[in-house]
């Protein structure tokens, strides 16, 4: 039933986010897309556009963990439905695990849908891509986005929903700047792996960056669990 609750909490956000790739395909199909000039790689701009969208999706789908109240209620000393949730005979570990899993699965599905959209756009730019290549691209996006996703989950255990979303976006902005100006090592530069060097463009899998992102996600999730276990409501 916790899965059901997680689904009910996120379904409209997911539908809203799914609307984006549908809109993109329909819009580009209706206006027509010109092939890129000779010499420039096809679809090079798409990952740059898709990465911020994926990060927004992470922030929206990660949910507020055990908290469910909007920020304005918390400011009034109200607790939303959190107290009801915590009165159920379920451990906080399970509550957070299920909620985080629901959002992560939805994020994965959303990235899959985006990649299908991308696939449908390819003929319009006179490009071709093997199924394996699109799967590699989707895998890269999912594993790299997991770091952002679980950062949002962690923020959800500390902040109210509204501030969690802003916090996630600010963290992404900081990483974007760091990626642009600090010349981070490739193995930790998640933004670069998603935006400018995904397999779609670099034709190689960023394995170390993906592993770093997954490791970071695991650490962030463990921190979120630890906070959730001891937090007072």
């Amino acid at each position: 039933m916790l899965w059901y609750k997680g689904w009910l909490e996120t379904r409209f956000r997911l539908l809203f986010l799914l609307g984006f790739p549908v809109f993109l395909v329909v819009f580009l199909h209706s206006v027509g897309v010109k092939p890129p000039p000779p010499g420039s790689p096809p679809l090079s701009g798409l990952p740059i556009m898709l990465t911020p969208f994926t990060v927004v999706a992470c922030a929206m789908l990660a949910g507020a963990g055990i908290n469910t109240q909007p920020a304005f209620q918390a400011a009034k000393g109200l607790h939303g439905s959190t107290l009801f949730t915590l009165s159920l005979p379920v451990s906080r570990f399970k509550l957070l695990l299920v909620r985080a899993s629901v959002g992560w699965i939805e994020m994965t599905g959303l990235i899959g849908a985006l990649c299908v959209g991308l696939w449908l756009l390819l003929p319009m730019v006179q490009a071709t891509m093997k199924v394996g290549e699109i799967v590699e691209f989707a895998g890269t996006m999912v594993f790299c986005a997991s770091g952002f996703y679980f950062l949002s989950v962690l923020l959800g255990t500390l902040l109210d929903d509204q501030w969690r979303i802003w916090g996630s976006m600010i963290a992404f902005g900081a990483l974007e700047l760091a990626s642009s100006f600090l010349h981070l090592p490739g193995s930790v530069d998640i933004v670069r792996a998603m935006e400018t060097a995904p397999p779609l463009i670099a034709h190689t899998m960023p394995w170390t960056t993906m592993a770093f992102s997954v490791g970071l996600a695991a650490i962030l999730f463990c921190a979120a669990l630890k906070i959730a276990r001891t937090r007072e409501y």
């Binding site: 039933m1 059901y4 609750k5 009910l8 909490e9 469910t68 109240q69 109200l78 607790h79 939303g80 439905s81 107290l83 009801f84 915590l86 009165s87 159920l88 005979p89 379920v90 451990s91 906080r92 276990r229 001891t230 007072e232 409501y233």
Partner: protein, 297 residues
């Protein structure tokens, strides 16, 4: 098995160095209907949240069903046996009445379908309506339904009739008494409505400034507590020290009002020993006991 379903010893809790509980000792007997009274900010909700494992005490101990509430793993065991109505009556706004009932049911193996059906009908809860569209009174009713249908051994109710109209309040109170009588469920409830508490509670605890100032059986309390109205003759001075058991003395001219919690006969004797004194004894209400204790604490 302990005779007390809830037991706390020297419970303390502070928020930003502001003490909310100052060594709270609370004992709720098994099968009782325990009215937990106190002014705003006295520590009622902090106590309830501590019992539910939502807050961690700074010191002292709290046990529910003999299980320490601080034990995170075993707290699941406690919550499986508790029906809880929160102070703010907030539920998932995106669910319908029917959905939240179906959502809650599987967590509780002793779920009472008969009670669920009974209260859906009695409280006139529209199954298809979103919780976001329910009034506070309807949310209170729904929360009571969800708490009672759990088949719980203990109901912890934080202001359970808040938001209900008088008729619904009457229905709810009657049902709570019926449940306690038929299934032996212990009830621990906080309320500001002293008349309600007096109507259904058999045990009372009054908390003030984070400490239990009065606790015990309501019948015993009513038997022990009496108000004495003493009229003194002109020029007679009040005793400097009264017999033990005088909770407060209030003087208006020649008339002195005394609240006695014990040794009433001895206090009456002491008053009558003064020349030209007339003494009358009156029973007291819970409201009087409450008000005098919190005013004089």
């Amino acid at each position: 098995m302990t005779d007390f379903i809830i037991e706390t010893n020297g419970l303390t809790k502070s928020f930003k160095r502001q003490p909310a509980l100052r060594g709270l000792d609370l004992r709720v007997p098994k099968g009782s209907i325990f009215g937990f009274l106190g002014r705003n900010g006295a520590g009622k909700t902090t106590t309830i949240k501590t019992l539910m494992g939502l807050l961690h005490p700074d010191s002292g101990s709290a046990r529910v069903f003999g299980v320490p509430v601080a034990d995170a793993d075993r707290s699941i065991e406690i919550r499986q046996r508790i029906g809880f109505v929160t102070e703010d009556k907030e539920l998932y706004p995106y669910m319908t009445v029917e959905q939240i009932v179906r959502f809650t049911q599987p967590f509780f193996p002793k779920w009472r379908d008969d009670l669920e059906r009974r209260y859906v009908k009695m409280f006139e809860l529209p199954p298809k309506r979103k919780i976001a569209d329910l009034s506070k009174g309807m949310r209170s009713k729904l929360m009571l339904l969800l708490a009672i249908s759990r088949g719980a051994d203990l109901l912890i109710l934080d202001e359970p009739t808040d938001g209900l109209d008088p008729a619904a309040t009457e229905d709810v109170l009657r049902e709570l008494v019926a449940i306690a009588a038929s299934s032996g469920t212990t009830m621990f409830f906080s309320s500001h409505q002293l008349a309600e508490v007096e109507l259904i509670a058999d045990h009372i605890g009054i908390i003030d400034q984070g400490k239990m100032i009065v606790a015990g059986s309501l019948d015993d309390m009513k038997a022990q507590y009496q108000r004495l109205q003493v009229v003194f003759a002109n020029g007679v001075e009040l005793p400097a020290r009264w017999v033990e058991g005088v909770e407060y003395v209030r003087r208006e001219g020649r008339v002195v009002s005394i609240l006695a919690s014990r040794n009433v006969d001895a206090i009456v004797e002491q008053a009558r020993s003064l020349p030209g004194t007339a003494v009358e004894r009156f029973p007291v209400t819970l409201k009087e006991i409450f008000l005098e204790h919190v005013r004089n604490n």
